[in-house]
Symmetry: C2
Subunit: 395 residues, 2 copies
């Protein structure tokens, strides 16, 4: 039994009632090949090999239909009132249960916009339509995207505790790095030093190790989801980090900024300080705007307009994303109205969600400035899950 799965599956009935949906069906197979991203919340890490159906109803029923060989594993999740095994075909038993429940809608894991709610593959969608072929239920299939985004987004007490633990470890590893960085080290050397700490602490990575941490020293380092390079850290460089540990399955995602003082400098050059202050102000603006009921786009605009208002080009990404089991946890995005974000910037912010806030800008000749803080939305507005960076770290 996994306490997080119990907490999460206990949220489902209420969400279905709220969304006025009778039945939510997660339909999967061979999940060791990747599987539906919602499974860790409602089933756990064990594989489902044959076609399997996890059914939740607004009346609170929790039902799993699985291959016979996985009967015990499914029972042992502790998440289901009833587990029905089958041998040769899921069709008769799945149809029988649907006919018993007579749902007005069957919500399935489809979303054009939210990858975390889009776990139904096209082949499995076709298989489901075949199973429902000669029934009235074929017409009742609807996307479950708002059910899943509510479920993922509304963090339970246990989930928030785990995210805070991952943040604490992430910040400790940052402190270790700041104490050991010296001019002349390469980006790769710094990243390797931080990864050694991750591994010594037996932690995981919130995103692939290849670019976690991202380390960018000076104006020529390629910023983004790129691996660290052989570029050497020099005095007069801005040094930018994007780093997150994963601990007990939950992620942190934090950016930090260092400036390496030149000989004779006791404070950063004005252009660097102005850039840094702009980013901290942008984070404060997003933080102030972030509360239940606002749309993600409003929060994005609050931060983005601070950056553009100071004459910097706008950053080419969203101000923030949800954080949880994954660094990019899906659902409502604090993003602009760009095609590639679909409808996610228009979704309303809800209490219980955890977001990153991560505006950025380039300071010519010095490098990239980006900070990233992790915040929780409460009914009263946002709170920081750890102290935000408010001063450049000077080395």
């Amino acid at each position: 039994m996994n306490q997080i799965i119990i907490e999460k599956t206990n949220q489902v009935g209420q969400i279905l009632q709220e969304k006025d949906v009778d039945l939510w069906l997660t339909f999967v197979r061979e999940t060791s090949a990747g599987g539906d991203p919602v499974l860790p919340l409602i089933y756990g890490d064990a594989g489902l090999t044959w076609q399997s159906a996890l059914i939740f109803t607004a009346s609170g029923e929790k039902l799993a239909i699985v291959g016979r060989f996985e009967l015990e594993t499914a029972k042992n999740t502790g998440a289901f009132d009833r587990v029905i095994p089958y041998d040769e075909s899921i069709q008769p038993v799945l149809l029988q249960e649907i006919e018993r429940l007579q749902p007005r809608q069957i919500a399935v894991n489809i979303s054009k916009n939210d990858v975390m709610a889009d776990g139904l593959t096209h082949g499995m969608y076709l298989n489901l339509l075949e199973i429902l072929e000669e029934t009235e239920y074929k017409q009742r299939v609807i996307p479950a995207e708002y059910i899943i985004s509510a479920l993922r987004g509304r963090k339970t007490k246990g989930e928030i505790e785990r995210i805070k633990t991952a943040i604490t470890s992430t910040l400790e590893i940052y402190e270790h790095a700041f104490a050991h960085i010296k001019p002349g080290m390469t980006e790769i050397e710094v990243a390797t030093m931080m990864q050694a700490e991750v591994e010594q602490r037996k932690l995981g990575y919130a995103w692939p190790k290849q670019n976690n941490p991202a380390v960018n020293s000076g104006p020529d380092s390629p910023v983004g989801h790129n691996a660290p390079t052989e570029i050497e850290i020099e005095r007069g460089h801005l040094l930018h980090f994007d780093f997150g540990a994963k601990e007990n399955d939950y992620c942190a995602d934090i950016q930090r900024m260092v400036y390496l003082l030149r000989d004779g400098e006791s404070s950063p050059p004005p252009a660097v300080q102005k850039g840094f202050d702009t980013i901290t102000r942008a984070i404060q603006a997003a933080f102030a705007a972030l509360k239940p009921g606002v749309q993600g786009i409003e929060v994005d605009n609050a931060a983005r307009s601070v950056v553009t208002g100071e004459g910097y080009p706008e950053y080419k990404y969203a101000t923030g994303h949800q954080l949880g089991r994954l660094a990019h946890d899906g659902g409502c995005l604090l993003g602009p109205a760009w095609d590639r974000y679909g409808t996610t910037p228009y979704l309303p912010v809800e209490a219980g969600q955890v977001f990153t806030l991560e505006p950025g800008l380039m300071v010519p000749n010095y490098g990239y400035i980006g900070l990233e803080e992790d915040v929780l939305v409460t009914t009263d507005g946002a709170v920081f899950l750890s102290p935000p960076q408010t001063e450049l770290i000077l080395l």
Copy 2:
């Protein structure tokens, strides 16, 4: 650069020519959430965050369209002739490339039957149709399942070497276990001992640790994809294992059988010996039938009929599955004509594929007998990748 990705992407052009398909498109986003199961073969472990298109053509072109932040990472795979970055929307650049290539078909990752070839989610399928909406190409979308199953199935030299390495480690861990098992230990204790070896060797698991190894002692242990239990190993028990290590991203999957002699016994009881001999004969029958061009169902039937011919009930699963980066590697299955297997038992066996052979049966009062061997299909027929078990291990 990852040598396996170079080897695999170099196979694609030839497969497309053979299948008479102009263009294969893998269309993904936010792959850190799970992603398309084909990505480890054609892109590697790095994430693709925004909507991204990996395009291969029968003429040998290899093209990636990715979010600007992932330009360097995509280039560094070494798999693509050209990487095109975009900022706000993939649509114009993807359309432009398709219009330049003028494909007669656009094969995408859809399969009702093969999970490994079904990486396109339904939401992403809808997004692709929208991108192609007002073009003639919308009608040219076809499933890429036979392209992917050929690509996954035909192991390169580097892949076969890795599978053999994982098998060697798996067999060494078995030997360690056989040397330390004593009556009175529980299934869980035995599994924990084997997992300690996996971890000491810094190996991974071919399927989730929860039931890897599966350990079944005696007639009351739940057989299948179940976790080991508190059942104690006793003299007079058949002891069955299903275990596989993962090493350098490739898997082994091996079942082994032990019998614990009762006081006074010097050989297994006749019912146990008959069961064991039936299974080794069934494996030999499948092995003899396995060669390029036969259908999976023929190989399944060769083994299954040996078991049923001796009066045992037929086992409720396929005789064998492909093995590679995953324990269940998709494509052609050595299985019976059961609904849950779809068309996979009817696919032809090809040279270069690696299969498990794993028939099983119950011996009343003693326990389950199942063996599993890993074999490679060559143009001349099957070869064992390690020595098969031909005698019961007696403890």
